[in-house]
């Protein structure tokens, strides 16, 4: 299986082609084909994972083209890193696709959704299996495209169309940076293949500040894709897409591709002098972790809260990688994928039931939809790092690595963990506790994704609940594979020489738990016991609230820079274009016209004129000949 792992991405691709070609005529209007493709791919991924755990390894390379003396090779690699990603993506995507059958039921563009989903799955698996920068870049762009298509799936909604464009353009900035980085690497090492590139770097083909620059540029791609500061602005808006898409792309897989990219090209970062590149990675991650968490505290849209949470957790992963916690970062990636997918799907289930995204219009849903509520709470506990849920192990490892490496970064992470508990607690109490504050769900106009005609919120269908339950199981128990008390099997499987996570120590463990619990307590104090009600806080700190609600004005700065300043530049360029360039073009046209107007006295269409000119010519020739 390992040697033919390239089949795995082709299964969703085949599903995509089938749905595009046959569409609604397929069983389940294309959904079953899509599910079959990704489930088979997921099984394949698990098989590969099993074989890799037992020591299998594959690296297949073909020479695709030769540029001068430099062969461009393409191929795929199966090692622990790609195997675990393959399995994770396969399983999570399978569950989300199954969930989508229920969530998207009744949508007029049902087959198109599954076609996009399959195309995305292909792209993601392709990206994971890439053994060279070319393939990873191609997969990178493909998932970007799918993200664009899926965010704008309800393109008839202006907000969705705008969000899709925003995501596409923002990630494009990162992608461009990544392309430059790849080109620098190719220029100096003469290869795009990871093995050869790393070997060349060890041989000193690329070193010093240039290497750092290349690494940071490649990391720029990850910043864009993983929604790290300062390219994070697209992810909250990306929640305009269907919730399964948010779960699959903007929580579990695609945004994790940035982390995967850093992990995949880790030798590049590690080779950077004084760990400069890794420091950049770590600080970007740490800042993102806390910035996103603070923004999440004031957000009312349930999906956006989760989106900020995702950004924050991605920041943790980056932080982990940046502080030499290679295993910790990857471990957090895997666990996060499961519990964040669970949270998103649960949020989707809630939205499906109440037909709104606004948490303030929910409440008391735990009674109406217990399955959703309990799985959601399990995911939340995992996220906030309450033992023994999955997030506890991974986050703890990240924080331990940060503590060992840089206390400032640890402080950022710890503050983020506190805030995580705070906003997640807020979310839980707003949504599931108390009494129902919303109106008739189907009276609200925001029911564009198949809200049924029911007066009271009720539990979602089995096809939606079943994935929740499976994911909840993962969220609860997956952490143990990285438990140090069990010898941390995950680290034995995925590790990187020179970036071993140091053991955290018991004190740190307790501190971490205490921070998480403190967050929960703060949330309870504000939202349940109302010791310090949120309104009071808002009035006491209006500037802080405004700052957070306006997302630190980043969007406004961008708007000012790109629309204000950029607009001026563009307008100047427009003037230049209109008067100088167009002037030149019009001058050419005007000249041609004037010449034509002049010449048309020769082109009269009458034989007399032509004959006269002929004989004039004859006379000139003869005179010249006679005079000569």
């Amino acid at each position: 299986m390992t040697q033919v792992a390239w089949i795995i991405p082709l299964l969703p691709l085949a599903a995509f082609v089938l749905i595009v070609a046959a569409g609604p005529r397929l069983p389940g209007r294309g959904a079953y084909v899509s599910i079959a493709g990704i489930v088979l791919a997921g099984i394949g991924g698990l098989l590969v994972l099993g074989e890799v755990i037992r020591g299998a390894h594959a690296d297949v390379t073909y020479t695709w083209a030769v540029l001068g003396a430099r062969p461009i090779t393409v191929g795929f690699v199966v090692d622990p890193l790609s195997a675990i990603m393959l399995a994770m993506v396969g399983v999570v995507a399978s569950l989300i696709t199954i969930y989508s059958v229920g969530y998207m039921a009744g949508d007029p563009h049902y087959p198109r959704f599954f076609a996009y989903l399959s195309l995305f799955q292909f792209s993601m698996l392709f990206l994971i299996l890439a053994d060279n920068f070319l393939f990873i870049y191609a997969g990178w762009e493909l998932v970007g495209l799918c993200s664009y298509l899926l965010i704008g799936f309800w393109f008839e909604r202006p907000a969705a169309a705008r969000a899709a464009l925003k995501a596409f353009i923002t990630t494009r900035v990162g992608d461009f940076s990544m392309m430059i980085g790849i080109l620098i690497i190719f220029l100096h090492t003469g290869s795009l293949r990871f093995d050869e590139v790393f070997r060349s770097i060890q041989g000193g083909a690329l070193a010093g500040p240039l290497l750092t620059a290349a690494a940071v540029l490649v990391f720029g791609g990850a910043v864009g894709k993983s929604a790290q500061v300062p390219l994070h602005v697209w992810l909250p808006d990306a929640m305009e897409g269907p919730t399964p898409v948010s779960a699959l792309i903007h929580a579990a897989t695609m945004v994790a591709a940035g982390v995967y990219l850093v992990a995949r090209t880790y030798p590049l970062f590690l080779a950077s002098p004084d760990h400069a590149a890794l420091t950049v990675v770590a600080y970007i991650g740490g800042i993102t972790a806390i910035v996103a968490a603070t923004m999440g505290v004031v957000e009312d849209d349930i999906k956006r809260v989760l989106a900020y949470s995702t950004m924050s957790q991605l920041g943790y992963m980056m932080l982990g990688l940046g502080v030499l916690g290679y295993t910790a970062g990857m471990f957090h990636l895997i666990t996060h994928a499961f519990f964040k997918a669970l949270l998103f799907l649960g949020a989707g289930s809630v939205i499906h039931a109440v037909a709104t995204n606004n948490m303030k219009q929910m409440g008391g849903l735990a009674r109406a939809m217990p399955w959703t509520a309990w799985t959601f709470i399990a995911g939340t506990l995992a996220l906030t790092g309450i033992p023994p849920f999955a997030g506890f192990f991974s986050k703890d490892q990240v924080l331990a690595a940060a503590f060992a490496h840089d206390r400032v970064l640890w402080a950022l992470g710890a503050a983020g963990a506190f805030l995580t508990s705070l906003y997640m607690g807020r979310l839980i109490w707003y949504t599931f506790a108390g009494t129902y504050r919303g109106g008739d769900p189907h009276a609200t106009p925001d029911g564009g994704h198949g809200a049924g005609g029911h007066a009271q919120p009720h539990e979602s269908s089995a096809v939606m609940v079943a994935p929740l339950v499976i994911l909840a199981v993962f969220a609860v128990f997956l952490g143990w594979v990285g438990a140090e008390s069990l010898g941390n099997p995950f680290e034995r499987f995925i590790h990187f020489a020179g970036a071993e996570t140091p053991p955290g120590g018991f004190g740190l463990l307790v501190l971490s738990i205490a921070i998480a619990v403190a967050g929960w307590a703060a949330a309870a104090a504000i939202y349940v016991w109302r010791i310090v009600p949120s309104e009071t806080l808002r009035q006491a700190l209006p500037w802080a609230y405004t700052l957070l609600a306006r997302r630190y004005y980043v969007d406004d700065v961008y708007a000012w820079v790109f629309i204000g300043v950029g607009g001026v530049v563009v307008r100047l360029a427009g003037l230049f274009d209109r008067y100088v360039i167009d002037g030149l073009v019009n001058l050419a046209g005007w000249l041609a016209r004037q010449v034509g107007l002049g010449l048309r006295y020769i082109q009269t269409g009458r034989e007399e004129t032509y004959l006269l000119l002929v004989f004039l010519g004859v006379i000139v020739i003869v005179v010249v000949r006679l005079v000569w």
Binding site: T604, G605, R606, E607, E608, L611, L612, F615
Partner: protein, 102 residues
């Protein structure tokens, strides 16, 4: 005794007259007349060369005869065209026959 040059001069003048008619006349029939004059000038040349430059040969006269034949063809077709144009456009002035222009 008039020699070759005499005939050539007459031919040249006749040719210039024909050319003048062709270039300046508006009436298409008059243009055809100019063409006939030019052809006559050419024929004078042919026959004169036959007599003075190549007395033993026949080609000068042969070609003069062929030119006359073709002139008849040209006149027939040309005048047929003039008639057809006149029937359609009710004019024989070439600068007014400009339906296909611009």
């Amino acid at each position: 005794m008039p020699g070759l040059t005499h005939y050539l001069v007459v031919s040249a003048l006749l040719f210039a007259l024909g050319l003048f008619a062709v270039v300046t006349r508006r009436n298409s029939v008059a243009i055809l007349m100019g063409v006939e004059l030019m052809l006559n000038a050419a024929n004078i040349n042919l026959v004169a060369f036959n007599k003075y430059v190549a007395p033993g040969a026949m080609q000068g006269q042969i070609f003069a005869l062929i030119v006359i034949t073709l002139a008849a063809c040209e006149a027939a077709v040309g005048l047929a065209l003039v008639l057809a144009a006149y029937r359609t456009l009710e004019t024989v002035y070439v600068d007014e026959i400009n339906l296909m222009k611009w």
